[in-house]
């Protein structure tokens, strides 16, 4: 039985049987298995979305620029969260659902330091350090389960509850925030429009870009990065070669925790620190990571921009339906690519 087009035949017998009974569906499935076709389709959907966003926004003037900037700011925050999350998954196969809790811990720790020293940078650095420390403690507990992924994930869920309750006990339930550093206070004029935009929000975008750059250098230009990439590919082989994998894993946990801590300090400055923020940020980074493909750093980068922009667009134009729109986008991506934009079936690509 020959397929009606020259495309690669579908893998399963069942699919082939289905294909024979339904040529349109067969053609669609053949299309969805070609990487170029998929990319083209993805780009087309993205362009359509951008076009729709732009045309809809132009009617109300400068709002489109605002949507764009707000989207990029959220994207920056999401990337800081999702990059650590996805790195930990890629290497340790642990889905750290306590990542939102660690974000909150980092933010609140930074708040305490800022109240004592009045120095945002020191506060952020110490908050990141604290979050990294908590993260590595969590890793030590997770090691007790010896790689039983589902129980590890449940353990991190338990940690989420404990962290949230301890944060409530230590810092109370009243929403609060950090003051931005003096050189990032106030707003700047946006060129070509009458809008003012807070400097700090732009700095968050810069921070995320910087984090991306540092991560790239670390992963592709250092020995540790080489070990991390090798560990993602084949952890068993790396350990056979005499590398102490737990040490590499531990450093990735510290790195991910520190990134979440920085995100907590940044988010705590331009959003707020409150009960429930941990869940909101966890949901956002989950959507980013799932949409981008688990374990893929590039996927996390691309997805954080898409999720950030779609979310900002939805919040501006359909505030009531904003969550629905973001979620619909996730379902659409998963329908096209079950393993996310840049994820493989079993094989994670950094």
């Amino acid at each position: 039985m020959h397929p009606p087009t020259g495309a690669a035949p579908p893998a399963g017998r069942r699919e082939r049987a289905e294909a024979a009974s339904d040529p349109l569906r067969y053609r669609l499935s053949a299309l969805s298995q070609r990487p170029e076709a998929r990319r083209l389709f993805g780009a087309a959907v993205a362009l359509l979305l951008v076009y729709y966003a732009a045309s809809k926004s132009l009617e109300i003037g400068d709002r489109s620029l605002l949507v764009l900037l707000n989207g990029l700011t959220s994207a920056g925050l999401y990337f800081l969260m999702a990059s650590g999350f996805t790195l930990v998954f890629g290497l340790a196969r642990v889905t750290n659902l306590a990542h939102g809790g660690i974000y909150l811990l980092g933010g609140y720790a930074a708040l305490s330091v800022q109240r004592a020293t009045d120095n945002w940078l020191a506060a952020t650095a110490l908050g990141a350090l604290f979050a990294g420390g908590v993260s590595v403690v969590l890793y030590q507990v997770l090691r007790l389960l010896r790689g039983d992924g589902l129980r590890e994930t449940m353990l991190t869920l338990g940690a989420t509850i404990v962290i949230a309750d301890q944060v409530l006990a230590k810092w109370g339930g009243i929403p609060t925030d950090l003051d931005p550093p003096s050189f990032l206070r106030g707003s700047i004029d946006l060129p070509g429009s009458a809008l003012l935009y807070p400097k700090f929000r732009l700095a968050v975008v810069a921070l995320a870009l910087l984090a991306g750059l540092v991560l790239w250098v670390l992963l592709y230009r250092t020995r540790l990065g080489m070990l991390i990439r090798a560990g993602v590919d084949d952890p068993d082989m790396v350990s056979i070669l005499g590398i102490r994998v737990p040490l590499v894993l531990g450093s990735v946990f510290v790195l991910a925790g520190a990134l979440a801590g920085i995100a907590g300090a940044a988010g705590g400055t331009y959003l707020s620190l409150a009960q429930g923020e941990d869940n909101r940020i966890l949901l956002a980074s989950l959507i980013v990571v799932i949409a981008g493909g688990l374990g893929s750093l590039r996927g996390a980068g691309a997805a954080s921009v898409i999720v950030g922009l779609v979310e900002a667009f939805a919040q501006t134009h359909h505030p009531v339906l904003s969550v629905l729109i973001t979620f619909g986008m996730l379902i659409a991506i998963l329908a096209l690519r079950p393993h996310g934009l840049m994820g493989g079936a079993d094989h994670a690509r950094l």
């Binding site: 589902l150 129980r151 006990a169 969550v323 079950p338």
Partner: protein, 335 residues
């Protein structure tokens, strides 16, 4: 054992359970009946839906509160906003459970393991945000208050004893239904999904269809739990399905253990007891609950039920050990 010989045994078991249920209100105080027993029952009913998914089909879903909430919200909306008679609304709400399960299953039909867990968590949290944001239908974060439990044969279900009897009967019915499903070929397919997806597919089953039907079956129990919880609380709000509740359900099932779906009731009882009585000793109840959960996850693969069953299987071993010792010493004496 042929079915004809099993029938009297099942009847005896039912009589025994019925007697136990009838005896409970006489044995415990009114406070315990309301705050502990009834609450554990509806939490346990919702828990069995997750215990079934995890223990039978190997699908860890964090979206069962979404089903629970869909049923509870639907009943409240139909009665309070559309003036439907209560039992029609109850029927619709119970039917909504499997439908919601079907939808969630269809979304996550191609996922498994950790990916499924994350996807369903996203669905569960999304449902919470939807309930909170979509005010025209869900009334935003206040939700629905002042829901009156219905009358059943003249008994007011907002009173303790009638509500207890109805919840207990519902619990038995849900467990019986799950046990029935487990014995059908579909139940076997669910276990195949849990044990070896590839082999199941090679045998000609569709893993997607199996996943979807497992979600649909489990949705029934979550829906029943949602309905009873609204009777019990007289209200439903986004707070009833937020991430704390999502995790609570997982805690209930994990503490109880998933090898038997009845473990959910044990877990629900432990969690309810902790929530009610730990307050007397510490302000940090949540930390205690979370820590207890982490400890159980670390210690046992099958929760408290696993530990208890281990003890049961240990007892004969211990007996044999001591007997062996005695026999050895007797032999020595003979020599």
């Amino acid at each position: 054992m042929p079915a004809s010989r099993r029938l009297p045994a099942a009847g005896a078991l039912l009589v025994l359970i019925g007697a136990a249920i009838a005896a409970v209100p006489a044995l415990v105080s009114d406070f315990v009946l309301l705050q502990i027993v009834i609450k554990s029952l509806w939490l346990g009913i919702a828990g069995t839906s997750l215990a079934f998914l995890i223990g039978q089909a190997g699908l860890i879903s964090l979206a069962q509160t979404a089903v629970f909430g869909a049923s509870g919200y639907l009943m409240a909306i139909l009665v309070l906003d559309h003036g439907l008679t209560i039992w029609a609304a109850v029927a619709a709400a119970v039917a909504a459970g499997p439908v919601a399960g079907l939808v969630i299953g269809a979304i996550s039909r191609r996922s498994s393991d950790l990916y499924l867990m994350m996807l369903t968590l996203a669905i569960g949290v999304f449902t919470f945000f939807f309930a909170q944001q979509y005010q025209p239908i869900t009334r935003g974060h206040t939700g629905f208050n002042g829901f009156d439990a219905p009358l059943l044969f003249g008994a007011d279900l907002s009173e303790r004893k009638p509500l207890f009897y109805v919840s207990a009967v519902a619990a038995v019915a849900v467990v019986a239904l799950f046990r029935l499903v487990m014995r059908t070929p579909a139940g076997l397919a669910f276990r195949g999904l849990r044990d070896n997806r590839d082999r199941l597919q090679a045998l000609g089953y569709s893993t997607s269809a199996t996943t979807i039907s497992a979600f649909a079956v489990s949705g029934f129990a979550a829906g029943v739990g949602g309905v009873i919880s609204v009777w019990y609380n007289g209200a439903i709000s986004p707070g009833s399905i937020d991430i704390t509740r999502i995790i609570e359900l997982l805690i209930v099932v994990t503490i109880g253990g998933t090898i038997r779906i009845e473990g959910a009731f044990l877990g629900a009882l432990v969690v309810t007891l902790l929530r009610n009585y730990a307050n007397d000793y510490t302000n940090r109840t949540e930390t205690l609950v979370g820590a207890a959960f982490m400890a159980i996850v670390l210690l046992s693969r099958h929760g408290l039920l696993g530990i208890l069953l281990n003890l049961k299987s240990l007892a004969p071993k211990a007996l044999r050990f001591f007997r062996g010792q005695r026999m050895a010493s007797e032999k020595e004496a003979v020599a």
